[in-house]
Assembly symmetry: C2
Homo-oligomer: 334 residues x 2
């Protein structure tokens, strides 16, 4: 028996336990994900990403407080730290957060370090979000550090992606930003009381202009049998990422930011993009599970000795990995 | 017929064409990888990683020049840009490089943007390195931007990983560095003529001290049937990452850096770590190919209509993705 029912009933301890099971990818966690799945699909997933030093954690904190105070929404925060790939460990800033949000039963904060395996982080994050969704959290904020693949994964998972910048973060981050513009639904210039904020804003604006705004095409590098996306009304106005200035340490600009987020949700719903993103997300998840299940089944069919022997032949350069894979698959290994 | 023989014979145009085929994962590229594989295993793979603004490209440039002038080694550079996940495009700084290295037949530079799919980048990079290795390049430098998974992938691929820092890159990059220390074989403080270099060096040193240096365990989150690592002499001294200061724009510290790299190679050979890393790399590659081949075969067995129907049931929350995967696998779908 899993903790599923207790989680649906709002038991925080059961929720906490289940999150651990899901993060560890335990059989109990897997079973619970299947049981909880029918209760999902209601939460708004907000991704928050950006370089270290932009004040993301503090911003997420303020946003959570805003949703609590203003709308009474239940808020979950998943803080993903891909910067510590090998060891794992708590995300910095947790204690700061706890001070403002602790004791509020409408808030649940969970940190997660990477698990090392490719794709494991994205999958774990998606599964945790699913649990929070089923547990009745209205808003799930997924915070991630750093540039690159982890941001892309967050963008694929979230309905709304915030990219956080701050003035004076270095000279040649332009190259990074060019990529980031493509995943950002809302650009946030945090620490907007710092010198250089005009330059940061100007740089972002000119990039937005250069980008020749076209409606974001949701790319899915999935398997070829993907179903077609639902039809989208071509008359729907394009979404051009707004730039919001905030000073998260003082709570400035948070209400305006929440307004932008609300407008984005309205846009997603009206344009049909919400359904497109949901579908994409579920397809990506299905594909990952298929890959994993295939590998599990493969492992059950191949003997360890066979595998060892073929790895040895590769190391001796007798056969290429590509040939070895085929040989193992066909069971033709002597 | 592939370009393999021409590549082995040193034909640069054939090499260039083959690299494109390999990057595009074309059938010709795949066939060539199998043909070339027996000719690999000789090159020294050096990974260079670090945040934007640390001057990595310039450093790689200088290192390549050093190997050309001092040792007459043939050098290939693979510049990976994971910061532009969706679009692709050339890596900044290529033109700067070309100025110093162009016209030298002993140098080959190749830029690569991410291909979007999870794992695709690491695989493409590994395949390109394989081609350069077979083509007789003695040193292959793989340069990558950004923090996170891409760095880990480079560390898994390379024999020697350089992590480049620069003074004054922001206040809370400590969290990043904690993770980076675990993949660094050599720490480079570039732009060492800038103010704050002492602080950067001191911070890195105290982190190294804190890390309680233990021999780097090469983690492989692979499939469970991995063969055992070759025996390593437990008397071998540990490798503690040295800190090298450079001013790459002026070529300062490059000779000393090359000295550190040479000592690392000697350490790898003496300790048996070279063989361990080779084995790990080949096993990771084999596993990736197995996963891919399994997926290909799966796709051939499932009808598009079946797949569409089951995705629809997931979207309607009738079944969870985990159940759907099992149903598709068992061919039990009505």
């Amino acid at each position: 028996m899993t903790h599923s029912q207790a989680v649906l009933d709002g038991d925080r301890l059961a929720l906490s336990r289940l999150l651990t099971q899901v993060e560890n990818d335990s059989p109990e966690g897997r079973a619970a994900l299947i049981e909880l799945f029918p209760h999902t699909g209601k939460a708004h997933l907000i991704g928050v990403t950006g370089a270290p030093g932009t004040g993301k954690s503090s911003l997420v904190n303020q946003l959570a407080l805003h949703y609590r105070k203003t709308d009474g929404k239940r808020v979950a925060i998943i803080a993903v730290d891909p910067s510590s790939p090998f060891t794992g460990g708590a995300v910095l800033g947790d204690r700061v957060r706890m001070r403002d949000l602790s004791g509020d039963p409408g808030v649940f904060i969970r940190s997660m370090a990477t698990r090392g395996s490719l794709g494991g982080l994205a999958q774990s994050t998606a599964n945790m979000a699913l649990v929070f969704d089923a547990a009745g959290f209205d808003v799930i904020i997924i915070e991630t550090v750093g540039a690159g693949q982890s941001e892309v994964d967050v963008a694929r998972l979230a309905h709304t992606t915030l990219v956080v910048e701050a003035p004076g973060m270095g000279d040649d981050i332009q190259a990074i930003k060019a990529g980031i513009l493509e995943i950002a639904d809302i650009l946030v210039v945090n620490k907007a009381d710092r010198p250089g904020v005009e330059n940061t804003e100007k740089a972002l604006k000119s990039m937005l202009d250069l980008a020749h705004p076209t409606q974001r095409v949701f790319q899915h590098h999935g398997i070829s049998m993907n179903v077609d996306a639902p039809e989208v009304d071509s008359q729907t106005p394009l979404w051009i990422p707004p730039i919001q200035k905030t000073v998260s340490t003082e709570g400035k600009g948070i209400t305006e930011l929440a307004g932008s987020i609300a407008r984005h949700v309205a846009h997603l719903t009206h344009s049909g993009d919400w359904a497109v993103r949901e579908r994409t997300r579920l397809e990506v998840e299905l594909e990952a599970l298929i890959r994993e299940e295939l590998m599990n089944r493969f492992q059950q069919t191949v003997l360890r000795a066979e595998y060892q022997a073929i790895v040895e032949r590769i190391i001796q350069r007798e056969i290429a990995p590509g040939e070895a894979a085929k040989i193992l698959m066909n069971g033709r290994l002597k």
